[in-house]
Every structure is written in C-alpha cells, then in structure tokens.
C-alpha cells in the first residue's frame, strides 16, 4: 500500500498523461518530493527555488483541503493527495 497522488490535467501535461502516481512517504512534502524527483518537469510547479512547497499550492488529502504548513501534513498508506496550483485565468 502507498499514498496516491492524483494529478490534475495541468500536471498531466508534464507527466506524459499520468493521472495518478504512487508514492511512499509519511507527509505531503515527502510524497510530492518523490513525485518531483520522478517527474522533473513538474518540480517547478510544486516547489520554489529553495525546494520548499510553492506558496501558490493548495493541497487536499482525501478530498479535504489542508491548512498551515502543507509539507508537514501527515499521510498514511491508502491516502490520496490532490495538489492544486493557484490558477488565474478568466
């Protein structure tokens, strides 16, 4: 069992169409770091220049939006992370 990261269409453009990635980690930050290592094209979407989670990122776990220090939000096997980049278009 592992943590699933569900990828929106925006991320799928950078992961060759992959819709869900499996990660092993105990926090949101660890899981998204694994994802970024695997798919460098999305690293700059998720992390800033100092390798911290982007300030423009919102994250839900099991369908619930998380607050505070997102990188430290705990996750366990079977959980589903959904990263959402702030989008501005109108």
């Amino acid at each position: 069992m592992s943590v699933r990261v569900k990828l929106s269409a925006m991320f799928q453009n950078a992961t060759g169409g992959l819709k869900t990635a499996e990660c092993n980690g105990s926090t949101v930050g660890e899981c998204l770091k694994q994802l970024a290592d695997r798919y460098p094209a999305i690293k700059r979407m998720l992390f800033d220049e100092s390798d911290k989670l982007s300030g423009y990122l919102a994250v839900s776990v099991n369908g619930k939006s998380q607050q505070g220090d997102l990188a430290r939000v705990p996750v366990k096997s079977g959980d589903e992370i959904y990263p959402m980049i702030l989008i501005e278009g109108g």
């Binding site: 269409a9 799928q12 109108g90």
Partner: protein, 244 residues
C-alpha cells in the same frame, strides 16, 4: 410585479419547482456586480441577462484583441480594438433591453472596490488575475455579500461560492501572487465555469438549492470529470478570520 411580457419570456424557468413568479421577481429586483467582461464574464453576463436580472454592473478596463475571440463570446470580430465594456453593452442591451446595465471602463483597485461594489447583492469574479480576485474577495467579506469565484487554465476550471462569515473565502485557500503569465485556454472551459458561476448567482438570489459553499468544484475537461474538494475556514485567514 412581473409584466405580461416577463411572464412569457421567463415562463420556462418560472415553471421550475421552487422558482415560480416569486423567484423571477427576486431576480428582477437583484443587483449583480460582475468583475471582468472576458472569458468568464461573457457567459456569466449573457446568462444572467437572459435570466432576467434587474440590474447588472459590468466592469472591465481592457480593449478587445483578436486572440480573445476564442472564448470571449460577448465580443465579435468587428469589436477588435473596442473597449470590452462598449462591446458588451451593445450585446447585452440587445439581449435584454429591460435590464438596467452599467458597463464601466474601470480598473478595480483597493481604493475603488468598495465604492464600485457598494449596494450590490452579489459579487461575481470573472477576473484574469489573483490580485484583483483577492481585492474583490475582501470587498465581499467587508460588505457581507456572497462572492462567486471562478478560474480557468487550459481544460481545467474551478468554482466556489463564498458566504462571508460562514464559509471559507478565497484567501483561506490560496496565498501569494504568482508572476503574471499568459495562460492557455480552450474557449469551452470558461463557458463551463462561467455557466456554473451564473447558476450559483441565480440559486443564491432565488434561494434555491445548495451552493458551492465550503467546497471547490473542479472541472477536468481533459478527462471529462468533475470533482470536489471540501474546504473550511482558516482561523488564521488574513482576510476573513474573526468575521461573523
């Protein structure tokens, strides 16, 4: 009181359970503020005008460019180079001459937002930048009126309705202002999200159904799926913390 013409024009929606003539009268009395006359603003304004909203204020500062035409359906090739509010006024007045429309060529700022939105029943976000979205979100919180948010990118869109003092606001979820960049978009994406926003406005004004409050609706046009994220108020929100 609805006129015979209005009873006929809006007859099909008046037929709806929970809507009725009373619902139509609420729309007729309603004042809706729409920020932006572009990709989202076009379907929002069109559908609200045709639903029988009594008063609409539509604000935009931009001129129409050729590259806007794939999605900004209020505007046509002949309008390239015109102010979007002038183009919008012409079309919306033709669609619904009874609606009181103010199409204003203004840039929305911290300094003028309260004056621009004062007295309106609902504020609709059809902007193309997060900074102005935060400004409008803040104005809605201060004035205690709903804020109907929408945003798009490519084939993805999001919508949420903020009820001040009761549900999560935009800044409970998003933080910071990214550098401006051109965004890719297929015209149907703002059409989908704009229609959802117009639906939220109508439901709120009539008092029917369940709003997108404390939840973000996410449209994934690439895989043709909708999903929801539950959100809650952030007790440390820089905009709405402590507001009741």
């Amino acid at each position: 009181m609805l006129t015979p013409n209005e009873l006929e024009r809006y007859g099909r929606q008046i037929m709806m359970v929970g809507f009725g003539e009373a619902g139509q009268e609420k729309l007729k009395k309603a004042k809706v503020f729409i920020a932006g006359a572009g990709g989202l603003g076009s379907p929002i304004a069109i559908y609200l005008a045709n639903a029988g909203i009594g008063t609409m204020r539509l604000v935009d500062f931009d001129k129409l460019e050729l590259s806007n035409l794939n999605r900004q359906i209020l505007h046509w090739p002949k309008d390239v180079g015109r102010l979007k509010v002038d183009s919008a006024r012409e079309k919306l007045n033709a669609m619904n001459p009874e609606m009181k429309l103010e199409a204003m060529n203004e840039t929305i700022t911290e300094d003028n937002v309260l004056e621009l939105t004062k007295g309106f029943d609902v504020i609709v976000d059809a902007m193309d930048n997060i900074k102005t979205r935060y400004i409008l979100n803040g104005a809605a919180i201060k004035q205690g009126v709903p804020f109907v948010h929408g945003a798009i990118y490519g084939l993805e869109g999001r919508a949420m309705t903020v009820i001040p003092g009761k549900t999560a606001c935009l800044q409970c979820i998003y933080h910071g202002i990214p550098p401006r960049a051109k965004f890719p978009v297929l015209g149907v994406t703002p059409a989908v999200i704009g229609c959802i926003q117009a639906t939220e406005v109508i439901k709120y004004l009539v008092g029917i159904g369940e709003l997108l409050a404390n939840r973000i609706l996410i449209y994934d046009g690439l895989n043709m799926k909708f999903m929801e994220i539950n959100v809650s108020r952030n007790p440390n929100c820089e905009c709405c913390a402590g507001v009741r």
